[in-house]
Symmetry: C2
Subunit: 308 residues, 2 copies
């Protein structure tokens, strides 16, 4: 396995692509390119959570796919007891352009890393799920193509308890308990520069409202127990995908709070992050992905060909 | 993740320990030591198969355990159309001592790598399963303690379609088809220096005949379809463990040839290595291991403690 942390923006060390490139062998694919998964951790555009980085990379690598973890532009640490001041860095379109830069980086190294560029999934969690969904719905739009040249179409989107509807984030913040309301408004300020964005800005930042027929097949999941980013975000996105004719799966598990990651001990920050039922999501996602990302396993090995 | 390939024997580059040491984070275990799995690929003591190395490391790493792949002393490439000449390198006790050297290396780096040395499993496949089982049954015996000082007790053994009974390997070779007979005799010569070892040498090399109450809890699996190393090897080992009072699990799946590794596309050399039923073994092994190798996940995260 080749591990490397590559800075994607000149003169900055916060936007990086970490590679988890699998070794190959004449005993396995013999150099054939493998599909890959680009992973975007969550953290409300305030940080990128380690819990949704390497543990997810290991899970996809265990399926035989290369994995990449993107740490995109985020706001930085905040004090949730007060409103935050806008900062340029984490604002639209910067974190989205970072995804374009990551895809370009992977494409440029595809030969060296044996990546099948036609089969790269983007997989994000929470705000990272928003960023992944934004890329999935904007890879062919000027916001990406002007910034990084030809946008690389992701072959699939996997979005975990993702923010997909910024109108909901802001308009329903008033319903929330104190801490969750403050977090929602911080997330809006971090991404849109104000806790009261225009309706137009909110809609433009909502994959559930703007997805079109160029959005790739999508696997969405969440938990009914999530109060910070309710499962309706995933359901509305699914409804939009159905309307525009994009294949999708949706799995909503009954129990589990926001931010479960794998929902196993491998990614838990505390015991409340372990939810055996919700941990089913990765098995479902793996099976769904395998229908599109089958490895080029030879019918017969070199040994068997010699043998027969 | 920290990847490093460490030579274990002075002046040789064939015996190596490859580390797959997980990153930790204040958001996860906060530096608490993790259990680890030491992986021994198979290959009839003639080679170490890549198919049973990194793909297995990824699978265990996805559970939150550090993984290590040991390439132990093997004979080298052979021509299966003729009998092989003995070579010192792959003979008992060299490959077994290599496991002791690997355990010592892990223990010496336990602080740096955050390894819980009381919770290291050895996990081997085919001849690697034999080598792992030999270590599990000899870690406290002079063959190890004389060579590496105090033997480190493995907390668990996972043995996949393992050779556990050398008497069977040699005595029943005559029943086999040509190629399989030649392979069995090559494997005997590689490990015991002759295709007709003494009964005493065969018994001494048979974990199924010598396991005692110091053997750690064991998870054994194989397939009824395996003609090269029949499932009776695992069954006899299990019977012995029962007799000496060592906890064990045994899973024999109906279909599948020898050498399935994960039995998924992630480790397949050709399509015949993909067996969805047999691929269940890893889920079973993971669940079994988790009862002994639970991570030290905090009851509450730093964030939750602040919150409450």
């Amino acid at each position: 396995m080749k591990i490397e942390r590559i800075p994607l923006r000149e003169g900055r060390d916060d936007v990086t692509l970490t590679t988890y490139v699998l070794d190959d062998s004449a005993e396995m694919l013999g150099g054939a390119a493998r599909p890959a998964v680009l992973i975007l951790p969550g953290g409300g555009y305030l940080s990128c959570s380690d819990r949704e980085g390497e543990p997810i990379a290991m899970a996809f690598a265990s399926l035989g796919y290369h994995a990449f973890v993107l740490r995109y532009s985020v706001y930085g640490e905040v004090d949730f007891t007060r409103a935050i001041e806008p900062r340029e860095r984490s604002q639209y379109p910067n974190p989205l352009v970072d995804v374009g830069l990551a895809m370009r980086e992977i494409r440029e190294h595809a030969g060296e890393w044996s990546v099948d560029v036609d089969r790269i999934a983007v997989c994000g969690f929470s705000a990272g799920g928003h960023n992944a969904s934004m890329y999935a719905t904007h890879w062919d739009k000027p916001v990406i193509t002007d910034a990084v040249g030809e946008g690389l179409r992701p072959a699939a989107l996997i979005a975990a308890y993702a923010v997909t509807d910024y109108v909901d984030v802001v308009e329903r913040a008033g319903e929330m308990a104190d801490m969750e309301r403050t977090m929602r408004l911080a997330i809006a300020t971090a991404y849109l520069g104000t806790s009261a964005p225009s309706q137009e800005a909110l809609v433009a930042a909502s994959p559930a409202l703007v997805a079109d027929e160029n959005t790739p097949p999508s696997f969405l999941w969440g938990t009914a127990g999530d109060t910070l980013v309710p499962a309706r975000h995933s359901m509305r996105f699914a409804e939009r995908l159905a309307d525009v004719g994009v294949p999708y799966e949706l799995h909503v598990y009954e129990k589990g709070r926001h931010g479960l990651s794998l929902a196993t001990q491998a990614s838990a920050g505390s015991r409340g992050d372990i939810e055996p039922r919700a941990a089913d999501w990765f098995r479902q996602a793996a099976a769904w992905l395998e229908t599109r990302f089958a490895l080029d396993v030879p019918a017969l090995s070199a040994w068997e060909r010699k043998d027969t």
